[in-house]
């Protein structure tokens, strides 16, 4: 089954396009056209197809990921949105966590809600924690809502009533009343987009979905029409933040699931690379211009989660953004990229990021007016980036400007030379990433030292060997086309949909019939979304329960068998829970009562991962194309190191560190502690000596 497949990843600055036809893979970067993103997509797609000599009509599948929904939220450019809440609970969005995300800063700003208070309406009704109606929906009050919405010129509405995850009847009835009067209104129900306990997160998710829904539905419709008009006859899939593909219609209904699709694509790529290399414990490391993303992948499965924050107001601090409860690939994202700005703080410490110079003006060495030193400037000052070879030589960097910026903003205040200042900047950013990786791992109860690092994104190959040293990691893999890794990852993702529902249950006297009915409903919902995209392929089902000891606050994910449950499954579920708990926290609590809060079901086409390739025989050292002077931290001096062209390296060839391996999109820096070879998949594999 050789298909012709396209992937398109719209980022803030660039739109990446990747074409796979037979054995060929071609890539292209064009500028993102924010005003009408489909134009950039069409331009890049048609240009790449022309290069490849492939007609659009011959393309079977187009997989698409985009940051548009995220950007609409960050820039507050979504629809004029209203919220309808339970009477007495108008301010759930403002009350939020009642806390400050920065303990010592008395001048913090809280995230601005997507719906101002004047557009938040309430209706008398009440459902209790068990789903029983305490107060019937006030039909007369609900009937006045359409006129109020019209008066406020509302385009999109979120309905979020208390405990609607337990009984959605009132939300459904409110929608009916609204659509009868206003048939064109976009309506999001919290019980559909996020049927989970905790009113703030559920309401926030519903409101965010309502906020981007008209925009995304409009964009996806225009893209579909543009593709059809240009002769496209294949299927369009959207990449979701959970790492699965979804059909256009489902994406238009729950566009909030598309945020973070780019990083999800990166994690999928890392999984694929791990499979080819036969690696079971992987840390994926994606470092671009603004941020670094780090994700744990065990046994070829990226960690997943149901919590995410968008639009963090302050320096990537947890709690400063709008919470979303959607399926996401769990990763830590910190403000550490090539464009991250370095400065010196009041304690005379070097601080790197989270502010980024972006692409305009960009790092000082770009010579576009940037005056502040960035990580890229430090890499130039240390000799790791060859100013003549950046972006395949299409863009010449100014090493003198890099050194001057480092000297002025970091070296000067600390009495350091530009070079040592550059070394400090690189060490700090690497240490920041290492600490983020460590804390992220411990939050999930994992250790990182015995993992393999898979590095991609423009800046990652420069920093991967030092990051690995800091984490005690002995092996690093840098796949081909590392610079457009996310889009390549899109082409490896399965068609999948995850649904969740909160239903509280004690494990003792557990309600098997209730759980079965719930899973049947979840399966029906997932099937509806997945079947059109699966096009007859077989489907795999995965069930989980979010469980904890009664009295605890943090649930762990426990696998549940994909079959009808019976009362006797209590023992099996307890054993499964204890197995997971012991793995995370060492010690189970004897006879502790156990409870289930939520249940999930994921339906997907088989995630066909390739078999591991046979190791290649080492065929001897590669030939260097150049030598460069690179700063060696241990010797505290510059030393000459060989430079290799990645395109010249064949599987089996070896390179001894220290060395640089250059390609158009990035440079791999190999420290003195590593040796490298090219593996059967064309990846550069770094291995720690001794």
């Amino acid at each position: 089954m050789t298909q012709t497949r396209l992937a398109v990843d719209i980022g803030g600055t660039f739109t990446d396009v990747v074409l796979e036809a037979g054995d060929r893979r071609l890539t292209k970067k064009v500028l993102t056209t924010s005003r009408a993103p489909e134009e950039g997509v069409m331009e890049g797609t048609l240009a790449l197809l022309a290069e490849a000599g492939v007609a659009l009509g011959a393309v079977d599948v187009l997989v698409h990921g985009t940051t548009l929904a995220t950007n609409a939220i960050i820039e507050r450019k979504g629809a004029r949105t209203a919220l309808i809440a339970t009477h007495g609970f108008r301010d759930v969005l403002d009350i939020a966590y009642e806390s400050r995300y920065d303990q010592y800063d008395i001048f913090i700003e809280k995230p601005v809600s997507l719906v101002p208070r004047a557009r938040r309406f309430t209706v008398p009704e009440r459902v209790d924690v068990g789903g029983r109606v305490l107060l019937a929906l006030d039909e007369a009050a609900a009937a006045t809502l359409p006129a109020q919405l019209q008066a406020e010129r509302i385009e999109s509405v979120a309905v979020s009533l208390l405990h609607s995850y337990a009984n959605p009847a009132h939300e459904l009835r409110v929608r009916e009343i609204l659509l009868t009067a206003l048939p064109d209104l976009a309506v999001t129900l919290s019980s559909e987009v996020c049927p989970e306990v905790r009113e703030y997160e559920r309401t926030s998710t519903a409101v965010a979905n309502a906020y981007v829904q008209p925009l995304m539905a409009g964009y996806l419709g225009r893209l579909d029409r543009a593709l059809q008009a240009a002769g496209f006859r294949g299927t369009v899939y959207l990449m979701t933040s959970g790492g699965g593909l979804t059909a256009l219609e489902a994406a238009a209904r729950f566009p909030i699931r598309l945020v973070e699709s780019g990083p999800a694509g990166g994690a999928i790529l890392a999984t694929h690379v791990a499979a080819l290399a036969g690696e079971r414990r992987v840390l994926s490391f994606d470092m671009g211009g603004t941020t670094a993303k780090i994700c744990l992948i065990e046994d070829l499965k990226p960690e997943t989660s149901r919590a995410f924050e968008v639009d963090r107001a302050a320096r990537f601090l947890k709690g400063s953004g709008l919470p979303l409860r959607i399926p996401v690939i769990e990763m830590v994202e910190i403000g550490a990229g090539g464009g991250s700005i370095a400065k010196v703080d009041g304690l005379k410490r070097i601080v790197v990021g989270p502010e980024s110079a972006g692409s305009e003006p960009g790092p000082a060495c770009y010579g576009r007016g940037g005056d502040e030193p960035t990580v890229t400037d430090a890499d130039v000052a240390l000799g790791r980036i060859d100013p003549e070879r950046f972006a395949g030589g299409k863009m010449r960097l100014d090493a003198a400007k890099a050194a001057a910026a480092l000297a002025r903003h970091v070296g000067g205040p600390l009495g350091l030379s530009a070079t040592v200042a550059g070394f400090g900047v690189v060490e700090i950013v690497d240490e920041n990433m290492a600490n983020a990786a460590r804390v992220h791992a411990v939050e999930r109860g994992r250790a990182v030292a015995d993992a393999t690092l898979i590095a991609f994104g423009g800046a990652a190959p420069l920093h991967a060997s030092r990051l690995a040293e800091k984490l005690g990691i002995r092996k690093v893999i840098i796949p081909p086309n590392a610079g457009v890794g996310s889009a390549v990852g899109f082409l490896r993702a399965p068609v999948a949909y995850e649904v969740v529902r909160s239903r509280y249950m004690r494990l003792e006297g557990f309600d098997a019939a209730g759980a079965n009915a719930l899973f049947e409903a979840l399966a029906a919902e997932a099937r509806q979304v997945v079947e059109s995209g699966a096009r007859g392929r077989s489907l795999e089902e995965r069930r989980t329960a979010y469980m904890r000891y009664v009295g605890q606050g943090h649930e762990i994910v426990v696998p549940v068998p994909s079959r009808a449950l019976i009362a006797d499954d209590t023992a099996g579920l307890r054993a499964a829970f204890e197995r997971e708990y012991e793995a995370l926290f060492q010690r189970v609590i004897p006879d502790g009562a156990i409870e289930v809060l939520s249940w999930t079901l994921t339906l997907s086409t088989p995630h066909d991962l390739p078999a591991a390739l046979a190791p290649v025989a080492r065929s001897g050292g590669a030939r260097a194309i150049d030598r460069r002077s690179v700063f060696d931290a241990e010797a505290e001096a510059f030393a000459e190191v060989p430079v290799y062209g990645r395109a010249d390296l064949a599987p089996g060839q070896t390179v001894a560190g220290p060395a640089l391996i250059v390609e158009d999109e990035t440079t791999t820096f190999l420290s003195a502690r590593f040796d490298a070879h090219i593996d059967a998949a064309g990846s550069i594999v770094l291995e720690r000596r001794s």
Binding site: G88, F89, R90, D91, D94, I95, Y97, E98, S99, R100, Q103, Y104, D105, I106, F107, I108, K110, P116, R117, A118, D128, V129, L134, L162, H163, V197, R198, E199, D345, G346, L347, K348, I350, L414, G415, L416, V420, F423, G424, E427, I428, E431, N432, N435, R438, V439, V442, E443, K470, G472, Y549, G551, Q552, G553, H554, L584, F585, Q586, G592, A633
Partner: protein, 541 residues
């Protein structure tokens, strides 16, 4: 160049120490039972050198633990000399005077060894929901009524748990499963810290922390001293009156800013009280230093060096230096007011960096009662639901609506509260007009209505303040609205002490608003219009 590279390596290792204690804190949150730890973050974790000096502390929800925990480790070292410490030992106490201020906080300290040598101590503390006695409320008249008192003891010796002590703990709480679970959770988090520290020492080739400790402490101290040097010198005085239990309390402070030090003296403050709102000195120091830190040194990590230039005194026998064995369970109600007292002094020196008074004391509903009409469940429920009022206006920004300050704990979600206790909320929304008007206005409080979901009476262990004495505005800004505690039918309730909410009645809380800054007439038209449009301000005058 070696010296320069060494400086950078010190910075890296310092960052790593902070990362180690953050990991320690995460492990505690993930495994905790106590809802106020796991949902709201009421805990602390840190690493100490062999002189008992704190080198790094995780940034968690509890300023009250800032240097109270820092002092606790030196008490352990006095009791258990370093030479006697063995791998596998764990020490425990909940002494309010040598720990963090009340019996509900357990402090655990674990010696950390590397290659057979004692190198550091890890310490942590968290708030347990119940430690027996009359429960978590202010009604006790001495500390013995407030629950089980654990002196400095070995919780484990050479890796073997002290089962006698564990049995005593289990037998002296209404929540034996949770309390035992929390003790294990505290022990585990210190182990996580010790493990990471050993890895760090291997990586950097260290065999002691001495040089790094000197670097951290000297640099932090110098940074705080440099900040202090920029402040206008002088002595600044302030008094703030609050509700108290039986009588109003005056909190009086004189802050002296010297060349390199700041000293806060609470002479003139009201004396100790009969009921459990008295504050042990360590807790007074914690919230005082937290208030100073927010204004003077917000970006400098907490450790023995950064805390050294900040000193605090209070007359023995005053409510802020309560002697053993006074009742102290609800010491947070008073202690959390101290940053406001500090701000009132500092605004005479640096007005642009200081907010108006806010709600400050967290409005925690401690509720108790039967879970059902039958007698099968002997213990019933005991739950603490946290909520907050508004914070004081900042000079250039409004106060924060419904937000904890100085406490950093989170509010309890309504849907979670209803799942852990037989209660139903009929209202929880912002309280219009409660923020004090001003050029910048105070944060808004909330209106909360709660009823039993079983039609049964339930008990309230009230510990609320700012009902008689609202948060004051400044520079022409108006006071925030006073808090209100009453039944839905109108009957007022006492701000402090045990009371019963009758069957079928609703408990109504109106949390206070923050004070405003500057004359209301100077408020930007746009900001006033937005408040009116949003219905947060209803009376245009």
């Amino acid at each position: 160049m070696t010296g320069q590279i060494a400086q950078i390596r010190y910075q890296i290792m310092w960052n790593r120490l902070i990362a180690v204690v953050e990991e320690q804190a995460q492990a505690l949150i993930r495994t905790a039972f106590s809802p106020i730890v796991r949902e709201c973050g009421d805990l602390s974790a840190g690493i100490f050198d062999l002189k008992g000096r704190m080198l790094a502390q995780a940034v968690t929800g509890t300023p009250g633990h800032v240097n109270s925990m820092a002092l606790s480790v030196s008490h352990f070292i006095e009791k258990f000399p370093l030479a006697s410490m063995q791998p596998g030992d764990i020490y425990i106490t909940n002494d309010p005077w040598m720990g963090t201020g009340h019996l509900n906080d357990f402090v655990l300290t674990t010696p950390a060894f590397h290659r057979g040598k004692l190198i550091a101590l890890f310490s942590c503390t968290s708030h347990l929901m119940d430690i027996g006695g009359i429960g978590f409320g202010p009604d006790g008249t001495d500390v013995f009524m407030e629950g089980l008192y654990i002196p400095h003891l070995k919780l484990a010796e050479g890796g073997r748990m002290n089962e006698t002590l564990m049995a005593m703990i289990r037998a002296n709480t209404r929540l034996p499963v949770d309390t035992e679970g929390d003790v294990y959770s505290l022990a585990a988090c210190n182990d996580v810290g010790a493990k990471r520290l050993a890895e760090m020492m291997d990586e950097f080739g260290l065999d002691s922390l001495d040089d790094l400790a000197e670097h951290v402490i000297a640099n932090s101290r110098a940074a705080v001293e440099a900040e202090i040097a920029r402040l206008p010198k002088g002595t600044y005085r302030n008094t703030m009156r609050i509700d108290g239990y039986d009588e109003p309390i005056d909190l009086t402070a004189a802050i002296t800013v010297g060349e390199k030090t700041i000293h806060v003296d609470f002479t003139g403050t009201t004396g100790v009280q009969k009921r459990g709102i008295n504050v042990p000195m360590a807790y007074t120091e914690a919230y005082t230093c937290f208030g100073l830190g927010c204004v003077v040194a917000a970006r400098i990590p907490n450790n023995a060096g950064s805390l050294a230039p900040l000193t605090v005194s209070a007359p023995p026998g005053s409510i802020l230096n309560a002697p053993y064995p006074r009742a102290v369970a609800s010491r947070h109600v008073i202690g959390q007011m101290l940053p406001d007292v500090v701000f009132g002094c500092l605004r005479q020196a640096v007005p642009e960096r200081v907010p108006a008074e806010g709600t400050s004391c967290i409005w925690m509903m401690s509720l108790r009662g039967p879970t059902a009409t039958d007698a099968a469940d002997k213990r019933g429920f005991a739950v603490t639901i946290t909520s907050n009022g508004g914070t004081g206006a900042r000079p250039m920004k409004d106060g924060l609506d419904a937000t904890a300050y100085p406490s950093g704990v989170k509010g309890t979600p309504v849907e979670i509260a209803e799942s852990i206790a037989p209660v139903v909320f009929w209202r929880k929304e912002l309280r219009p007009d409660s923020g004090g008007a001003g050029r910048t206005r105070g944060g808004m409080g909330q209106v909360i209505e709660v009823e039993s979901s079983k039609g049964l009476p339930f008990e309230l262990l009230a510990a609320f303040d700012r009902i008689d004495h609202p948060a004051r505005g400044r520079d022409g800004g108006e006071n925030g609205a006073s808090g209100v505690l009453q039944l839905k039918s109108g009957q007022k309730l006492k701000g402090k002490g045990f009371q019963t909410i009758p069957a079928g009645e609703r408990l109504v809380l109106m949390t206070p608003g923050g004070g405003g800054v500057g004359a209301p007439s100077e408020r930007a038209g746009e900001a006033s219009a937005r408040d009116l449009r949003d219905g947060l301000v209803t009376a245009a005058d």
